[in-house]
C-alpha cells in the first residue's frame, strides 16, 4: 500500500481555494445598485459552470476515446467526470438560485437559461439511468459512450445557443443584455474570478481522480470475492 502523499497540484488547489474564499468574502468590490454585496456570488456561481463544462467536455473526449479503443479505462474516466460535472452543475444551480432570490426577487425567475440548464442536467441524469439499466460491462460502455456524445451535441445548443435567441433573459450575453466581458470587470474582481475559475476546475479534476480511484478499488474488491 502506497503511503498517502499530497501532490504539488493538490497543494496549489488548496491554496487557490483558500485565496478565493478569503478574497471573495473580504476584498473590496464595486458597489452597484441592486447587486450590492451579492456580487460576491459571482466568484462562486460562474466558476461552477466553467468547471461543469470542462468536466463534461472531458467526459465526451473520454467517451470518443472509448469508442475508438474499447479500453475500459476510458469508460471509467467518462462516468467519473460526468458524475463530478453533474455535482458542479447542481451547485451552480443552487448558488444561482440564491443569487437570483436577492437580485431578481425569486428563486426561479422566468429565464430560459435556467429552464434549459435544468433540462440539460436531465440529459446527464438520463445518462446515469442508462448506465444503471445495463448489465454487461462492454455493452454498457459502448452504449453509454454513444449516448454521452449524442447528448453533448444536444446539450450545447440547449444552454448556449437557444437562451441567446430570446429577448427576455436575465443573464449577461443573452437577450438584449450586454455580454459578460472579462475586460469590463473591475480590476480587483478580475484577479479573484480568474483564480476562482482555475481553483474550481482543479478541484473538479481532484474530485474526478478520487471518484476514479473509488471505482477502481470497488472493481478490484469485486474481482477478489
Amino acid at each position: 500500500m502506497k503511503r498517502f502523499r499530497l501532490e504539488w497540484w493538490k497543494i496549489v488547489t488548496i491554496v487557490l481555494l483558500y485565496y478565493t474564499v478569503i478574497a471573495g468574502i473580504l476584498f473590496p468590490v464595486p458597489r452597484l445598485p441592486i447587486m450590492n454585496e451579492s456580487i460576491r456570488l459571482n466568484y462562486f456561481h460562474v466558476p461552477m459552470w466553467f468547471t461543469m463544462m470542462s468536466l463534461f467536455t472531458f467526459s465526451v473526449w473520454a467517451s470518443v476515446k472509448y469508442l475508438r479503443t474499447q479500453n475500459i479505462k476510458y469508460d471509467d474516466y467518462a462516468i467519473s467526470a460526468a458524475k463530478v460535472g453533474f455535482f458542479f452543475g447542481i451547485l451552480g444551480l443552487l448558488t444561482g438560485m440564491l443569487w437570483g432570490n436577492y437580485t431578481w426577487g425569486s428563486f426561479w425567475p422566468k429565464d430560459p437559461k435556467l429552464n434549459n440548464t435544468a433540462i440539460g442536467l436531465l440529459i446527464y441524469a438520463a445518462y446515469f439511468v442508462l448506465r444503471g439499466s445495463l448489465e454487461d460491462e462492454t455493452q454498457r460502455g459502448r452504449l453509454s459512450a454513444a449516448y454521452n456524445v449524442f447528448a453533448y451535441a444536444a446539450f450545447i445548443p440547449l444552454i448556449y445557443i437557444l437562451p441567446r435567441m430570446v429577448d427576455n433573459s436575465l443573464h449577461p450575453g443573452n437577450g438584449n443584455n450586454p455580454s459578460f466581458r472579462l475586460f469590463d470587470t473591475a480590476h480587483n474582481m478580475k484577479m479573484v474570478i480568474y483564480t476562482a475559475i482555475i481553483a474550481f476546475i482543479m478541484l473538479g479534476c481532484w474530485l474526478t481522480t478520487i471518484s476514479l480511484r473509488l471505482r477502481t478499488l470497488t472493481k478490484l474488491q469485486n474481482e477478489k470475492l
Binding site: 442508462l130 439499466s133 445548443p157 440547449l158 437557444l162
Partner: protein
C-alpha cells in the same frame, strides 16, 4: 389520434374557442407523444431474428440512414395528420401555413434522426420502453423549443424574415444530430 379526440371532447364541453397558446401546446404535446411511441418502435419492436437478418444483409450506415428516412416520412405523416385532425375538430388558427408545414418537416427530420439512434440504444437494455422515454425526452426538447417558437410566429402571422433565424438553427441542429447518429450507430449495432 385518441389524444386529438380527447382534446376535442374536452374543449367541445365548454363551447368557447381555445386560445392560440393552448392550441400550440396541445398540438406539440400530441405530436411528441405519437412520434416517441411510433419511432421508438423502430428498433424496440423487432425480433432477434430480424436483427440478425439485417446484420447480415446491410452495413450499419445503410441501416441507420434508411431508418432515418423512413422515420422522417412517418413523422411527417403523423404531424400532417395531426394538423389536419386539429383543424377539422378544433380549429385552424395558423396564419402562415407554409411556414408551419416547413417547421413540421424540419422537426420530423430532427425527431426521426435523434429518436432512431436512441431507440437503437434503448433496444439493447432490459426495460427498453421506459428507457426510451427517459433518454429521448431531454434530447428532443431542444428541437421542440425551437419548433414552438416558430409555431408562435406562424400563429401570429408575422413576417417570414422573423423566423429565418430559428429555421436555420433548427436545420443546423438537425444536421449535427443526423451526422452524429450516422457516426455513432455502427458502435451500437455491433453489440
Amino acid at each position: 389520434m385518441s389524444l386529438v379526440f380527447i382534446s376535442y371532447l374536452t374543449f367541445s364541453l365548454r363551447q368557447n374557442a381555445i386560445s392560440e397558446a393552448t392550441w400550440s401546446a396541445l398540438f406539440w404535446l400530441t405530436i411528441l407523444f405519437s412520434v416517441v411511441n411510433s419511432v421508438g418502435k423502430s428498433f424496440i419492436g423487432e425480433k432477434k431474428g430480424a436483427f440478425i437478418y439485417l446484420y447480415t444483409m446491410a452495413s450499419a450506415q445503410a441501416i441507420i440512414l434508411s431508418k432515418i428516412i423512413y422515420n422522417t416520412a412517418l413523422c411527417l405523416l403523423l404531424s400532417l395528420g395531426g394538423y389536419l385532425l386539429f383543424s377539422i375538430f378544433i380549429e385552424n388558427p395558423i396564419q402562415d401555413p407554409l411556414l408551419f408545414i416547413t417547421t413540421l418537416f424540419l422537426t420530423s427530420f430532427g425527431f426521426s434522426s435523434s429518436l432512431s439512434l436512441i431507440s437503437g440504444i434503448a433496444s439493447k437494455a432490459n426495460n427498453s420502453n421506459i428507457l426510451m422515454a427517459v433518454l429521448s425526452f431531454p434530447v428532443v426538447l431542444g428541437i421542440l423549443l425551437l419548433a414552438i417558437k416558430i409555431t408562435k410566429n406562424a400563429l401570429d402571422g408575422l413576417d417570414r424574415s422573423v423566423s429565418v433565424d430559428e429555421l436555420l438553427n433548427l436545420l443546423a441542429i438537425n444536421c449535427i444530430l443526423t451526422a452524429l447518429a450516422y457516426l455513432l450507430f455502427p458502435y451500437i449495432w455491433r453489440s
